[in-house]
Symmetry: C2
Subunit: 346 residues, 2 copies
């Protein structure tokens, strides 16, 4: 298939990925198309998409539909997908991205497959060995970038340094934080604390031009001590999901407190608004998607359980990344840090 | 020094460890001695302890004081301590424990030093290669044992299996959970997910007699899917501290919500009690101390920032562990699991 050039101001959305595909994905795209001035291309089984739209009476005239006939399962091995699923939405979508014919690619499907196809089709940014998932942690006072939130379960020290560089570019570009403070997530503040990998990463970060503030413990992340918190994808993913689980737990508890007596029941009305505002801060659906940084093209990964609202928000996230040229900023940042490096890494 | 035999119903408390030693430690011991029918031996610089008691008008007549002249710094290397600080409270305390002359040893000091001295003086339980810190996560519905909460930053697969065995003994003995469900903390539920170490550990656990439920994600821990959640000490420590940080954040936010208007301010009075009850669930001071399991003697580690209340609660934790013979139960459990093992580990 030779795809047309959709231009930079366009986003390819995987219609087939996630627990609620394609229905909720289509709905999310329609919502986003009403809010954003950006071209949305829905990629996937065209017949399925069109029959779904007719059945649910969805107006998809504002969306471009691109056919991709193969389906990918959630547990399929990424390398298999790259080899055997060349007519899947993820493979084709990342291919068009890699050819520079679209501004971004978004999927709520198999994360491993997205990563493998994106790397194969769009390549890495020079100086970055592994892409990483960056998210803004849902926090109170201050916004903190967590990187890697789940792309790499096993890392080398130099990967962690590269994550820090990408996290810096992210915080500067997307959160307008000047010279962001970088922290290495660890079990103690002392330089020699932690696993072997983390101890080595500490040295690399200390010897770089980055605004490195040393180790941060789990507690410190919430106290806003740094703007970027760096860790491997194993720790990051567990941490992120624990935050989700804990937020749910808290709101259940709070509800129980409110319903514990008549007086408090009465007041629930008055608290409903501020509480739901608070709850939104911890709701991944509000954020919708996370960037897979390090690929030479903008890739956004959404939660597998995403519904229309999350997809629509993820498209907004993608559009922001496109308009701010996040990928270009990372490219520049890698060059600057590597040029000024006082480190000894190989 | 040849210490007398204090018998099983006794706890040696390190008077010199932690940010608020010895004052808050002494106070905590006095509080505990009023509540518990157990002998408390305060070990440390006797002159300092006595002058502190006089100065603050503390009645220490119910406590035994044991002199240890050397001090250990928080950043001192554990192996150095074992070699050069043989007259320190941690070294001497664990030595008496190892000689079977006391029921437990408790310290809020340098965790690495406690671990090294305990291993040197009290040895490991046969079949356990590394001791691990076990805590009961402060959760809503259900109590969950997290192991390892910070003793081992780098692990081998077989250590994780041993942590699971100790976690099982803990849940059975201390929480009265029959045949507790064990989960491996991971980034996905599928068998092949995760780091190399975790993938191998999965196999070992699957081939054991343990009630292994597979992988659990960060979210699942809070949803009470398992009774024991196993991970390395790097992940466990970050997770535990993140929970602390997040709890603080939540209560700050909740307070802001309450103070947001007059109506809600009024009601704060009615909510004070249930909220502070909720807050207590997430307060480490309520728990006071965590067991360092795997040592052939009961060792309890307290938070470095412990004050009297935390120390008193930790002594209660220690007394419970003594009366339930937690160490003996772990010894038995290791034998049972290893005997029935269908695994292939070496």
């Amino acid at each position: 298939m030779v795809a047309e050039n959709y231009g930079k101001n366009s986003i390819i959305v995987d219609a087939m990925g996630g627990d609620h595909a394609p229905g909720e994905i289509i709905r999310g795209c329609i919502q986003a198309s009403r809010l954003l001035d950006i071209k949305i291309i829905l990629i996937g089984d065209e017949k399925k998409i069109r029959s779904f739209a007719i059945q649910d009476n969805l107006d998809i005239t504002n969306l471009e539909i691109l056919n991709a006939s193969q389906e990918i399962e959630m547990d399929e091995s990424p390398s298999e997908v790259v080899r055997t699923k060349r007519d899947s939405s993820i493979y084709l979508g990342t291919k068009i991205l890699g050819e520079g014919k679209a501004g971004a690619f978004l999927s709520a499907g198999n994360t491993g497959a997205v990563m493998a196809c994106a790397l194969y089709n769009a390549r890495r940014i020079e100086g970055i060995q592994r892409p990483a998932i960056a998210v803004v942690l849902p926090l109170a006072e201050k916004r903190v970038v967590l990187i890697d939130a789940g792309a790499n379960v096993d890392v080398k020290p130099v990967y962690l340094k590269q994550f820090a560089i990408m996290g810096k570019a992210y915080a500067e570009t997307m959160l307008s934080i000047e010279n962001p403070a970088i922290g290495l997530i660890n079990v103690g503040s002392e330089e020699k604390k932690g696993s072997e990998v983390v101890v080595e990463a500490y040295k690399l970060l200390k010897n770089s031009d980055l605004n490195f503030k040393g180790n941060v413990e789990g507690r410190d992340i919430f106290e806003g001590k740094v703007d970027v918190a760096v860790c491997d994808g194993f720790v990051g993913n567990i941490l992120l999901k624990a935050i989700e689980g804990m937020a749910n737990l808290f709101f259940t508890e709070i509800k129980n407190v409110f319903l514990s007596n008549f007086m408090t029941k009465l007041v629930t009305l008055g608290l409903k608004k501020p509480l739901s505002r608070m709850k939104r801060k911890f709701d991944y659906e509000e954020y919708g998607g996370a960037y897979l940084l390090g690929v030479d093209g903008l890739v956004i990964i959404s939660h597998g359980s995403s519904r229309a609202k999350a997809i629509s928000n993820a498209i907004r996230v993608a559009a922001t990344g496109v308009s701010m040229d996040l990928v270009g900023k990372i490219r520049d940042e890698v060059k600057i840090v590597n040029k000024n490096d006082r480190g000894s890494e190989k």
